[in-house]
Amino acid sequence: MYKRLKKIKKLLPLYIMALPALVYLFINNYLPLTGMVVAFKDFDYSKGIYGSDWAGFRNFLFLFKNSVAFIITRNTILYNVAFIIINTFLGILVAILLSEVTSKKALKVYQTVILLPYLFSIVIISYLVFAFLSTDVGFINKGILEPLGKSTISWYNESKYWPIILPIVNTWKSFGFQATIYYANVISIDKSYYEAAQLDGASKLQQVRYITLVLLKPVIIMMILLAVGKIFYSDFGLFYQVTQNSGAIYSTTNTIDTYVYRTLIQTGDVGMSAAAGVYQSVVGFLIVLITNLLLRKISPEDSLF
C-alpha cells in the first residue's frame, strides 16, 4: 500500500503534465463520437442533434437500395488494395535504391523530385491528366495515337481504361511519400549488419532480402495496417476531380465517397450523410481489428495490439 502511494506520488507530476493533452483528446476525439446518433435520427434543426426523432436504420437504406451498392463497395476495396500493394512495393524499392545513392547532391535532387507530386493539389493533377487525355488537345490523342495513324480515344467516356489510369495517377502522386517514410527507416539500420554480411560474401540482393526487409518488417506491417483501416475510404479528389466527374465511367470510378457526395449534395440530408460516415468507420474499424487478429495468429510479435 505504502509503496503504491509512493509510486503514484512519483508519477503524479507526469499525470498532471499529461492532463491537458488528455482533456484535449477527450474533447476533440471522443466527445464528438456522441454525434454518431445523427445517423439514426430524422434530423430537425429546431430540435437539435439529440432532440430529433429517431429514424432507426432508415438512413442507411439508400446505401443498399440498388445494385450501385455492390459496384461502389467493389471499386473502393479493389482500388485501395491495388494502391496499397503498388505503393508499398514501389515505396520500399525506391527507398532501398535511394539508400544506395552516395552523392549527397544527387540524393537531394532525387528526393525532391520524387516527393514533389505528393505536394500538388489534386485539382492541379486533374488538369495535368486532362492535358494527357483530352480528346480535343490531349497529348496521348494528338501526340501519340494520331501520328501513329490510330483513331483517337474518348478517354473520359470509356470506362474500361480507368482501372489502369487511376492506379498510375495515384502511384505517381503518392509513392514519393511512402518512399520517404521507408527511406528514413532504411538509413537507420545499423551499418554493421551489412558489413558483416559482406564479409560472409552475401550479394546485394541477399543483403536486401535477409537484412533490410527483415528489419523493415514492423514498419511495413504498421503502414499496411494503417492503410487497411482506411480501405473503406477513397481519395475523393482522385475519383471525383481526376475523372472530371464523368457519368459515363462511373462503373469503374464510382466509390463510396463520390457516391455519397453526389447523392447527398442534391438532397442535403444530414442524417443520411452521417449514416454513410458511420457505415464507413464501423466497417473500417472492424477490418483493422480482424487484420490485427489474423496477424496475432500468424506472427504475434508484429501485431499492433
Binding site: I49, F62, S126, G247, A248
Partner: protein, 511 residues
C-alpha cells in the same frame, strides 16, 4: 488508492461531460424558446443596444471593401428601422456547410440566402428555416409582399412563408449565344429566335463554313444539350417525375425518361455529336463555357438567356455577341426560387429582420448600397441619367474595392441602378421578360422527398450516371437508354413519382 484516484478522475470527466452536454442542450433549447417568445411579443427596445441583423449569403468573389459597404449600409438601415446590419458573405463551396453549422450550434444568424435549386425543400422539412404566418409578414414586410406578389407561392409551404424570392429573372429562357460576325455571315435573325429545325440547317452551314471552329458547346461542364435547348417540361425540382409541355396540361406526373420526347431529344443530341457540331467531351471538358468561348474556337454557346446576357457575355469574353432564344422563357418553382432570402430558426427577432427585408424590396437606397457599394467610392452616376452608373473618376474594374454587382441576390432588382454598359431600360426589359414568361401550373409546388428519401437518393445516383452523357450525345442511346430506364426502375423511380403525384394532388386541392 490508485483505484480511488482513477475513479475520481472518472467522476471528474463525467461531471465535465454532463456539464458540457448540458450546455449543448441548453443552447439548443434556448434558441427555440426565444424564437417562440419573440414571436409573441413586439420587441422594440428603446435606449437599448440596437438589434444587429446578421446576414449570410454566398458570393462568387470576395470583395476588398466589405467593411466599408457594411458600415455604410448599416448606417442607412439604422436611420430607417433602428437596426444594424452585419454581412457574412461566403464563397460557394463552404457556404452551405457554414450556415448549417451556425444554425445547429445556435450561433447568431438572422437572414440567409437559400435556393430552390439546391436544398430549399429539405431546409423546410428539417425545420432549418422559420415558417412565418402571412399575418406577421403582412404586418412587417408589406411592400415585399406587394412586390413579390404571386411568386410568393414558391416559398409558401402548408400556409407558412419560408422566405422571399428575390426579384430578378424569374423565368429561364434557353438558346444560343452567337458571335456577331457569325450572325452576319450566315444571315441569322437572332431577335426572332431559332427553332430546332433551323438549328439543324444552321449548324450544318457553320460546320461547312468554319473549319477552324467548333459549331457549339454546352453552357458548362455540368449542363446538357437537352436541358439547354429542348427543355419543354417542368422538372418539379428533381426531374424524378415531371409535367410535360411546360406544365400547361393536366397535373399528371410523368416519368420523363420513359417518354418518346426524351428519346427524340437524346437521339438529336447524338446526331449532332456524331456530325461533329459539339465540342468533344462536352460533358467532361472543364473549360467549357465562357472560358472556351473567349478563345474564339467556338462559334456559339448554348446558354441560359435573360435580358442581361448579351452585355454580360460581351464584357466577359471581349467578343461582341448576341443571343437567339430557342426555348421560350418558362417559370416554375425552381426558377422563381433560384435565390430565396430566408430567416433561419436561430433568429431571435424575426420582426426586425422582416423590416430589413422589406427595405430590400422597397428602398432603392438600401438595395443599391448593398449591390453597388458607396457612391463616389465604388460608383458614380453618369451625368444626366437617373439610372446609369459607372466607375468614379480614376477607378477601374481592377482598382475598385467593390465589384459585387450581384443584382440577383438581394431584394428587388427593379430598384437597381444600371451599369452604363447595359441599356438604360434594362429593368423594364426584365419586367417584360418576367411578365411574358410561360408559367407552370405547378408553380408554387414544393416536393418533400422525406417519405421516399432512400429511393430518391438511389434514383439521383442513377441519373448522375446516365443523364449527362446521354443528353450530350456522347454515348449511344440504342445501347444505353434501355439500360438507363431499367436502372431507374430498379432504384424505385415509380415510388418517387407516385409520392410526388400524391403530394401534387394534395397541393392542387388546397388552391
Amino acid at each position: 488508492m490508485k483505484k480511488k484516484i482513477v475513479s475520481k478522475v472518472f467522476a471528474l470527466l463525467l461531471a465535465a461531460c454532463t456539464v458540457l452536454s448540458a450546455c449543448g442542450n441548453e443552447s439548443g433549447n434556448q434558441s427555440v424558446g426565444q424564437t417562440d417568445k419573440s414571436e409573441t411579443n413586439d420587441t422594440v427596445q428603446e435606449g437599448e443596444e440596437p438589434y444587429t441583423i446578421v446576414y449570410a449569403f454566398d458570393v462568387w468573389v470576395q470583395q476588398a471593401d466589405w467593411d466599408l459597404v457594411e458600415e455604410n449600409l448599416s448606417n442607412i438601415v439604422y436611420d430607417k428601422i433602428g437596426a444594424k446590419v452585419k454581412l457574412l458573405p461566403m464563397t460557394g463551396a463552404n457556404y452551405q456547410q457554414e450556415v448549417n453549422l451556425m444554425i445547429t450550434s445556435g450561433e447568431k444568424l438572422d437572414l440567409v440566402n437559400a435556393s430552390a435549386r439546391t436544398t430549399f425543400s429539405s431546409d423546410v422539412t428539417s425545420n432549418k428555416l422559420l415558417g412565418l404566418d402571412e399575418e406577421t409578414v403582412r404586418k412587417y414586410a408589406p411592400d415585399a409582399m406587394e412586390v413579390i406578389g404571386d411568386y410568393m407561392e414558391a416559398t409558401t409551404v402548408d400556409g407558412k412563408i419560408y422566405g422571399f424570392p428575390t426579384i430578378r429573372d424569374m423565368a429561364s429562357a434557353y438558346g444560343l449565344i452567337l458571335r456577331n460576325d457569325i450572325i452576319e455571315k450566315y444571315g441569322i435573325d437572332a431577335d426572332a429566335g431559332l427553332t430546332v429545325e433551323q438549328l439543324d440547317d444552321l449548324f450544318a452551314r457553320i460546320k461547312e463554313g468554319e473549319p477552324d471552329k467548333y459549331v457549339t458547346q454546352p453552357q458548362s461542364q455540368g449542363t446538357s444539350i437537352l436541358e439547354s435547348l429542348f427543355k419543354t417540361y417542368d422538372g418539379l425540382g428533381d426531374t424524378m417525375g415531371v409535367l410535360m409541355d411546360w406544365g400547361q396540361g393536366d397535373l399528371t406526373v410523368q416519368n420523363l425518361f420513359d417518354t418518346e420526347y426524351y428519346e427524340e431529344c437524346v437521339r438529336k443530341a447524338r446526331e449532332w455529336n456524331e456530325k461533329g457540331y459539339i465540342l468533344p467531351d462536352a460533358s467532361t471538358n472543364p473549360d467549357t463555357g465562357v472560358a472556351y468561348f473567349k478563345t474564339g474556337k467556338v462559334a456559339s454557346t448554348m446558354s441560359l438567356i435573360h435580358p442581361g446576357v448579351p452585355t454580360d457575355s460581351t464584357n466577359m469574353t471581349g467578343i461582341p455577341c448576341s443571343t437567339a432564344i430557342v426555348n421560350p422563357a418558362f417559370g416554375n418553382t425552381q426558377t422563381v426560387g433560384a435565390v430565396i432570402q430566408s430567416i433561419p430558426v436561430s433568429c431571435k427577432n424575426p420582426e426586425k429582420v422582416l423590416e430589413f427585408v422589406n427595405l430590400l424590396y422597397s428602398d432603392a437606397e438600401v438595395y443599391n448600397a448593398l449591390v453597388w457599394g458607396i457612391e463616389g467610392t465604388h460608383y458614380q452616376h453618369v451625368k444626366g441619367s437617373e439610372k446609369w452608373i459607372t466607375y468614379p473618376d480614376g477607378v477601374t474594374g481592377e482598382t475598385s474595392g467593390y465589384t459585387l454587382s450581384a443584382t440577383y441576390a438581394f431584394g428587388n432588382r427593379y430598384l437597381s441602378y444600371i451599369w452604363n454598359t447595359d441599356p438604360e431600360d434594362l429593368n423594364e426589359k426584365y419586367e417584360e421578360f418576367n411578365d411574358n414568361a410561360i408559367k407552370s401550373k405547378a408553380l408554387g409546388f414544393v416536393f418533400d422527398t422525406t417519405p421516399v428519401k432512400a429511393e430518391a437518393a438511389a434514383v439521383q445516383a442513377v441519373m448522375d450516371e446516365y443523364r449527362l452523357p446521354l443528353e450530350n450525345g456522347v454515348i449511344d442511346p440504342d445501347e444505353n437508354l434501355p439500360k438507363f430506364r431499367q436502372a431507374l426502375k430498379d432504384a424505385g423511380i415509380d415510388t418517387v413519382i407516385a409520392e410526388k403525384q400524391r403530394q401534387l394532388d394534395e397541393w392542387a386541392a388546397t388552391k
